[in-house]
Amino acid sequence: MSDRVPVSKTYKLYLGGAFPRSESGRTYPVSDAKGRFLANAAQGSRKDLRDAVVAARGAFGGWSGATAYNRGQVIYRVAELLEGRREQFAAEVAAGEGVPSRRAESLVDTAVDRLVWYAGWTDKIAAVLGGANPVAGPYFSFSVPEPTGVVGVLAPQRSSLLGLVSVLAPVLAVGATAVVVTSQDRPLPAITLSEVLATSDVPGGVVNLLTGHTAELAPWLAAHADVNALDLTGAPAELRADLERAAAGTVKRVLRAPSTEPDWQERPDIRRLRPLLETKTVWHPMGV
């Protein structure tokens, strides 16, 4: 046993590619599953959230305009770096979720595999969902799926890493950008994930992670006019209808949440990609 005192980490927000504290100066204590203090997390504010939307909007052109091959490689790179930090994540997941370490390792492994699964979708989804339209006239018409824009994500409350990766990876895969409100009580793996994102060629602003009180931040996210879609997966049950109502103010695409958090270890499908995509139809006359 060494007498050395470990250097513990300050958990901050991940915003526009940087790691600021909350502009509000607030933090809140995070405990493990047994109630022991783990760390102080930044308690993101409405202003932090609006800054995050600005960062996500700013990053949208570059990320949506990147080639699908490039996006696939970047997401695959995230998987590589997550794999490299497997033990650190397993320890954080075990502490936060109160699961045995073997189970925590399995959850991390599945998160890595999930990223690999979505990495492979970037350059295939357009062929699966798009195509040529055989219109009755002398025109060439085709339809392609395109990312909807900035996606507000209320991350799952229970599954702090696998759940988060399962809702975030599809946003990245389609070329959209994300403002994520992490699990309120289990936020630490999200912030460690942001360190992975920051070092894996995901451009700054493409993913923005806010820790804090979901019920405080969610209404601002739902009502923000520069957010195109809202994922309610981690929304508190009693707020869901209100959040959907707020989202209607700017006709947001809403991913409704099942009443219980899904089993994230189930095989994924493209249901999480489709609602983040718009179909664009292009026409041009044919002739000599």
Binding site: P134, G137, G149, R240, R245, V251, E278, T279, T281, W283
Partner: protein, 476 residues
């Protein structure tokens, strides 16, 4: 010498106009217990017919009938059998095409040329296209056995009354849903003739129910707890109200809302073709088109020449009797809409845009608005931001492709856009960057059942047409 047009009126008798129309519920035409409405010919302001409307109790009856039909017949029927019913509807629309076109022009005010050549044939095509899907849904990419949702509550606008009914009903039926549809208050007649066709095609009772009425009937329908899916086409304002009212209900929703499309003309565009495209883009259906090219963005170097040619061409458009086969611009659908157009045009003048209005004569009676082009429009003006839904074009200029793109995307809407240039790479660059659900390059206002249609942003969500359009009516 000037060659005058001789009148070429289509026969009004072909419409088989009846003094009264009744709603269609559970396979029967019945009297609604709502306050009857009078459908008016906007070209003459005469009352065409009295139409019974639905009360809340009638909405409930219709939804229950649709549920019974879903549980007992339609929801269980093999797709191949559903298909044959839908094919029948397509064929019978084609058989009665001339009657439907005349009735549509009477009730809506649109030129017979458009109802005859666009609305009615495209409506038939939608049924024909979707009929073929009914027994092939496992190939649509939504899994091996995609299931319908149940009862679809559908609310449609007055600008393409029959065509919108077809866009809504055909995919719903193909996917195995049953339907309660509310046509617009001012244009209920062709939907009720469609009901007659559906009855003659012997669809099981309750599979399609058509209940006329005003906005309150629509609200009653979309909020009815027995409705599983809501589809709405109309204004963004009402779309937001519907989306908010469905919050927390779990009902699947698709919205096709307003637009403020940019039609971008570059200096290398073939100008004569572009002028035709601009005219078609904004004056088709009197501009009562959600995807109308209402913001013309023209490259500064050709702005003057293009505007001269445009004004000359617009001066030749013939405004008047919708039943005359030579008419280009028919009647504005209602006094209310005419007031809205007039108000926004006044705002354009007040805000300093230069108005030019075609010197064409206006009929003494009826609701008409002469085609109008505003030059010198800036992005902050109401006529550049708000949907006018009338024959009014706002012209802005740009210098570089980047500026054109930025201006085109500077709107909360995102339904459609147009691009005119001979440069292929520029078309594809813009088609990629424009935030709009439909991009027409060197053409405008093309519609086809195989081509998905729908908006980005506040122009709504969900698609109509094509493989993508089936998602709206499947539990996937």
């Amino acid at each position: 010498m000037t060659w005058e047009y001789a009148p070429a009126p289509e026969s009004r008798a072909i419409a088989n106009l009846k003094p009264g129309y009744r709603m269609f519920v559970d396979g029967e035409f019945v009297d609604g217990t709502g306050e009857p409405l009078k459908s008016v010919n906007p070209a003459t302001e005469e009352v065409l017919a009295e139409v019974s409307t639905a009360s809340a109790a009638d909405v409930d009856k219709a939804v229950k009938a649709a549920h019974r039909a879903y549980d007992k017949t339609w929801g269980r029927m093999p797709g191949a059998e559903r298909a044959k019913y839908i094919f029948r509807i397509a064929r019978m629309i084609a058989e009665r095409a001339r009657e439907l076109a005349v009735l549509e022009s009477l009730d809506n005010g649109k030129p017979i040329r458009e109802s005859r050549d666009t609305d009615v044939p495209t409506a038939a095509a939608h049924f024909f296209y979707h009929a073929g899907w009914a027994d092939k849904l496992e190939y649509a990419g939504y899994g091996p056995d995609p299931r319908p949702l149940g009862v679809a509550g559908q609310v449609i606008p007055w600008n393409f009354p029959l065509l919108m009914a077809a866009w809504k009903i055909a995919p719903a039926l193909a996917c195995g849903n049953t339907v309660v549809l509310k046509p617009a208050e001012t244009t209920p007649l062709t939907a009720l003739v469609l009901a007659e066709i559906i009855q003659q095609a012997e669809l099981p009772p309750g599979v399609v129910n058509i209940i006329p009425g005003a906005g309150d009937v629509g609200a009653e329908l979309v909020n009815h707890p027995g409705v599983n899916k809501v589809a709405f086409t109309g204004s963004t304002e009402v779309g937001k109200v519907i989306q908010a009212s469905l919050a927390g209900t779990g009902k699947k929703l698709t919205l096709e809302l307003g637009g403020k499309a940019a039609n971008i003309v570059f200096d290398d565009a073939p100008l004569d073709q572009a002028v035709e495209g601009i005219v078609n883009g904004i004056f088709f259906n009197q501009g009562h088109v959600c995807c109308a090219g209402s913001r013309l963005l023209v490259q500064e170097s050709i702005a003057e020449e293009l505007l001269d040619r445009l004004r000359a061409r617009v001066s030749t458009l013939r405004l008047g009797d919708p039943l005359d086969k030579n008419t280009d611009i028919g009647a504005i659908n209602s006094r209310e809409q005419l007031t809205k157009i007039t108000e926004l045009v006044a705002a354009g003048e007040q805000e300093g845009a230069q108005r030019w209005t075609s010197p064409c004569p206006l009929p003494d009676k009826g609701f008409y608005f002469a085609p109008t082009v505003f030059a010198g429009v800036t992005q902050s003006m109401r006529i550049a931001r708000e949907e006018i839904f009338g024959p009014v074009l706002s012209v802005l200029t740009f210098r570089t492709p980047e500026e054109a793109l930025a201006k085109a995307n500077n709107t909360p809407y995102g339904l459609s856009a147009g691009v005119w240039t001979e440069k292929g790479s520029r078309i594809l660059w813009l088609a990629d960057k424009l935030r709009a659900g439909v991009v027409w390059a060197n053409t405008f206002n093309r519609f086809d059942p195989t081509a998905p249609f729908g908006g980005y942003q506040e122009s709504g969500f969900g698609r109509e047409g094509g493989r993508a359009g089936l998602e709206a009516y499947l539990d996937v």
